[in-house]
Point group: C2
């Protein structure tokens, strides 16, 4: 926009032109997606049109190319919706999630599949698995770890009895800040409002930085933010949304004790997802109970320089072995070095099950 | 796409090209929106950038121009999100709504303002009004009528004590269908599953068409749909989502007793919204209690051929008059024939308050 128009009227006309062009291009994109679907159906009448690895690639590319001024995450969100709408035209993706509606799991499902997907709340994690297994839906969305409850064991356990694989992951990040009104001085804070759960999540930081401030629990972090607006000696612990809404100043950012204060969800399905270029693999390994078993298990990963991103130990439910390990690492099971490691792990373990390779969460 | 590419690879390349173009155009649109904001701020440092009438015009234009294959409503949804993202770049719209999260009111707020708006749940309708009046948020979203509770009197009453105006409306439509599995015959349905609320909403239709079928209440309409999947003599009352999800056949559509089974919400704010071309106006009128008062009140509307879309009577809370009427009609208070009618109404009534003129709900 070097020879940019300069008055409101010209700008609005330019916006109308741009909108017409965007409309035309999105429509052509939908037409292309329709033809892709036609060709795929000719090749295989049962073809699934949703391809997680392709979607991850498109979004990564968009974020790379994005020239601004919109930030990459926002632009990716718009493209997620465009892809979701194009896909729904031919074959709406059906998704079951752990309900009820309005929970973070629904938010994760919408974030991943876009608003055009058909989504339905289930009452329990098993039900989500069951609906996917029965073929009533294409995918399920279940929480796998969150900052308040830690790992959702029930989800991990469900995989042990299930033939489903992991097709993707979604991460919702949650940050807490210490917020004050403009007129408040950092050293004058004598009272802090927040929801009890947020106090728990920021306890260490508060003990270190505001050991003498009175902590007043309130019904929500939004309520906390509202209260400090008129109290010059008070602060609130709350997130970005409340800070923006009440124009509060952040005197400290990201004060949660665990830096990865986030909730992670898994997308489960029947699909073996091809490589996207940046993938993760989840496996579950049963070991015989003997000294050094875990060390033996992890050694091949170290030798092949494969990054472990997570390891959970769970008691086995069978008498044969004592523990099972849920391991997440970077890489796709079709990569030669990953399949080499899996081969070695199979020799050392009582049992190995690959839960799936999937694109690393894009946003 | 007359000289269309024919294989998957070419189609995917074309989609990538289209995505690059869409990305470029959305970015330029955001840049234009930023300049609009700059110019407005120079003219008035307190300027509000969100203009309901402009947004309604853009969406109507998009729906008119939309060539398919995406349907107009879906395309409008995408543009709503694009506009919401562009606006949030400069000045995120702040919205308070009647909570908790996950309710239809939140859905209405997101539908109207897009996902980039900053929105916060409030515990009561008064609180929504208070937050807007205090200037903590730009807009509030409150339900004004729904199919289960009828008119939300509390919302109407709040307007009597408030200086806020109505800046817009959002309608969420809710349809019920009678659904069966493929193998079920219409005349063999001996049992019907549904949520008790849906039974209530379809009672007359059921009495007329399936007087002898057993009605079995279940916890949700989704559950009802799931059950009939395997019962050849059963049907479920449920919505589009459940029909799609379980691939059920609609043996009867829109069986709700009231054809306008929907929930309507109002956007409240401080703004006087200019004409968008298709507008509605809400007024509240206090009449002295005398024979023929209502007829007198309505006569000027009839004479000027102004469409009334709604009329509600509420007992007055003051001793001076006995009733107040909430009237919605088509037109904008800046139109000459509307202001003529308002002039006449003012002569006949004890008091008239224009709650606002606003664009008719687009979707």
């Amino acid at each position: 926009m070097s020879d940019a128009p300069i008055n409101l009227e010209t700008l609005r006309q330019r916006i109308d032109e741009l909108d017409s062009d965007i409309l035309r291009l999105i429509s052509e994109r939908a037409e292309c997606a329709r033809r892709v679907a036609e060709i795929k159906t000719q090749e295989d009448p049962q073809a699934v049109f949703y391809r997680p690895e392709r979607e991850a690639q498109v979004l990564r590319r968009i974020m790379e190319l994005n020239p601004g001024p919109l930030d990459g995450e926002e632009m990716a969100r718009l493209f997620r919706e465009i892809m979701s709408a194009c896909l729904a035209l031919e074959q709406p993706v059906k998704v079951a999630y752990l309900g009820p509606e309005g929970t973070f799991t629904q938010q994760a499902a919408l974030k991943h599949f876009g608003e055009s997907a058909v989504s339905l709340p289930m009452a329990a994690i098993d039900e989500v698995f069951r609906e996917v297994e029965a073929g009533a839906v294409n995918y399920g969305v279940v929480p796998v770890e969150n900052s308040t409850e830690g790992v959702i064991n029930h989800t991990l356990d469900s995989f042990m009895d299930s033939g489903l694989s992991i097709c993707g992951e979604v991460v919702l990040r949650i940050h807490h800040h210490l917020l004050v009104a403009d007129t408040t001085r950092r050293d004058k804070v004598s009272r802090i409002y927040s929801h009890p759960q947020s106090f728990a999540q920021c306890r260490k930081w508060l003990d270190a930085h505001y050991p003498h401030a009175e902590r007043v629990p309130v019904s929500s972090n939004a309520e906390a933010a509202r209260l400090v607006k008129t109290e010059w000696h008070s602060a609130a612990i709350a997130g970005d949304m409340a800070a923006k809404l009440y124009d509060l100043t952040r005197i400290a950012e990201k004060i949660e004790d665990r830096p990865d204060n986030s909730t992670r969800f898994l997308i489960i399905g029947n699909q073996d997802v091809p490589m996207s270029g940046e993938d993760k693999t989840s496996i579950v390994v049963a070991m015989r109970n003997q000294p050094g078993a875990l060390h033996d298990l992890l050694e091949p990963f170290h030798r092949h320089q494969i990054d472990l991103t997570r390891l959970e130990t769970r008691p086995s439910r069978s008498g044969v072995w004592n523990y099972v390990f849920f391991i997440d690492f970077k890489g796709h099971h079709d990569e030669p070095r990953v399949s080499a490691v899996l081969e070695e792990v199979r020799l050392r373990a009582a049992e190995v099950k690959v839960l799936g390779s999937f694109p690393q969460g894009v946003l």
